[in-house]
């Protein structure tokens, strides 16, 4: 599904240059739940931004189902993010003026889906994350965990190929974090490909595979016991 080859990402700061990703290779299979972990500054979020087209690497190529997505023009990249990817951010990133239902509907509407159809799909997505009773609540009327679940519903509402989650549990207490991770696990069971960035090893363990980064390189890859045995 995702094949990243020799990904290099550098940032310039005045005269100095900081190399965050140092020729990294990665392969994520369809239906896989991959957790990327590592210390602060290891490059885990930067890697996710490159894979999800929110940023552009200085070198390397990223193939999604055989297509080099880095060769797409800006409009095509936007369309790719809209149709093929789903995003879950650390701080939920919900639009404050939109209700839970409207937040989830937005990508669907942008895809040209009829309003009524978008409403139905958004409702289904919210049912999946167990928030159907909060459809008409604004983000500020929801708890952190609920907001993150709305964010997940927005990410899955349009049936994307891959969900990218950037520290989705960082702002949540352990109980709520557990609920959110459970949602990810259930989605993954249904065949959803998920790439999750987290700095907490315990949370990363829910994934099929845990990739640990250090200094812009893959330090180790751990396959979960279930997956290994399975």
């Amino acid at each position: 599904m995702i094949l990243a080859k020799n990904i290099v990402k550098k940032y310039k700061s005045g005269d100095s240059e900081l190399v965050v990703l140092k020729g990294l290779d990665l392969h994520v299979k369809q239906g896989e739940f991959v957790a990327i972990t590592g210390r602060s500054g290891s490059g885990k979020s930067t890697l996710m931004y490159q894979l999800s087209l929110l940023d552009e690497p200085n070198d390397g190529e990223i193939l999604v189902d055989g297509i080099n997505i880095l060769k797409l023009n800006n409009k095509e990249k936007t369309q790719f993010r809209l149709r093929e990817l789903g995003f879950v951010f650390q701080d939920y990133a919900l639009i404050p003026e939109l209700t839970a239902l409207e937040n989830v509907m937005l990508p669907l509407l942008m895809q040209g889906t009829e309003t009524e159809v978008a409403k139905r799909s958004a409702r289904t997505a919210l049912e999946k994350v167990g928030l159907v009773e909060k459809l008409n609540n604004l983000p500020n009327q929801l708890s952190g965990g609920q907001q993150q679940r709305v964010s997940i519903a927005r990410a899955i509402g349009h049936n994307p190929k891959i969900i990218f989650a950037d520290e989705p549990t960082a702002n949540l207490d352990s109980e709520t974090a557990g609920t959110v991770l459970k949602v990810f696990q259930e989605l993954n069971k249904e065949g959803q490909t998920i790439v999750m960035v987290t700095h907490e090893k315990d949370y990363a363990s829910v994934a099929d595979r845990v990739i640990t980064l250090s200094d812009g390189k893959i330090l180790e890859t751990t396959v979960s016991e279930d997956k290994f045995l399975g």
């Binding site: 990817l85 639009i95 003026e97 939109l98 409207e102 942008m110």
Partner: protein, 433 residues
Amino acid sequence: MILTAEEKQLNKDRKRNRFFEDIKIGSFLAYRQVRRSSVATTALIIFVMVLTFLNLVVVSGILVGLIQGATDAVKTLYVSDISVTPLKNKDFIENSPQIIKTIKTLPWVESATSRYLTSGVIEANYKKKIKQTDVSDEVGTIISGINVEDEEKVTHLSKYLIEGEFLKPDDNDQILVGSMLLKKYFPMETQGFATLSEVSVGDKVRVTINGNTREVTIKGIIKTKVDEISRRVFFPESQFRILAGKTDYNVNEIAVKVKAGVKPELVRDAIIKTGADKDAKIQTFDEGKPKFLTDLVNTFALLGNVVGSIGLIVASITIFIVIYINAITRRKFIGILKGIGIESSAIKTAYVMQAVFYALIGTAIGCFLLFAILKPYFDVNPIDFPFSDGILVATIPDVLIRVGLLMTATIIAGYIPARIVVRQNTLDAILGR
């Protein structure tokens, strides 16, 4: 790369679909942003838009209305819809009785009045003068002989009586005096604009025309915003003829009022068809209006437009700042929208739509205030300028032009800040860098 006709059509369809998607998403976001934004902020922005619209329309409207009021007064009180005046190099209208008779028989004419005019002198303190060296209290002016009933039908001159009584057709030795001939109403005395001191209604004055002098009583004083009227002395026409020693019935002016809804041009042509143009100059009010009045209206309109343009620039900057602050404080959310795949054009459309919403509501309230309150108010209570009753001129086409200007300025002022913010790097916006 050469595209086939099919591919070109496909591209066209895509662009059209994109445009409609942008409108759909733009309105979806804009509607919710406005609906869920602070009521006080929205009210303040709309209030600014209302003021801007009124500034754009009312300032130029009053400036134009100032001259329009003066022009309207000349038309109502003096010239009326059609003026009949002597031909060039003639002092009077030949065959006046025939022309007046013909005009009055025309079906579109509501009323017509004729006036005798001559220069004369009015003297006040002649009884108090003891010595030859005593200064005479006298003024040279235009003496007018009017058909009292016809004049009233055309100009309603009696409405402008500020003291005393109006003339009656059979009044003997009685006159009306324009207020600008009296010091108490026109205290400025400059060369060529002398006034009579200490003269009131009931006082006796002497009027001299063509060497004939007659002692008359001031029956009333007329005050208007039309100098030609306010500087005249009025006699009933029979008395004027006696004093001026006129043996014919040829007059110097005829003012014709046409029936409501009738075009003056139609009546002018009808009068010309009778052959009256051989003896007189026949013009509609607009034709006879001095060019300087038209120039003055245009100048004031230009002045109003300059003031309005400044208002428009201020409004554009206001909208710019409002949208910019709105967009910059929502930079993170704009980044998120772009991140999840919402097109930049749709986000910009949302901001432009918000700006247009503010302008539309502001304009709608402004139009209501203008046509339902301000204009009717100024029509009934004109602004009392020294030379005119200033009204508020606001025609639908003029207002529509200004609405168009305001909308254009709003769209530009809403688009630019949205573009500035939307163009920023998506990831930087999301991460707040």
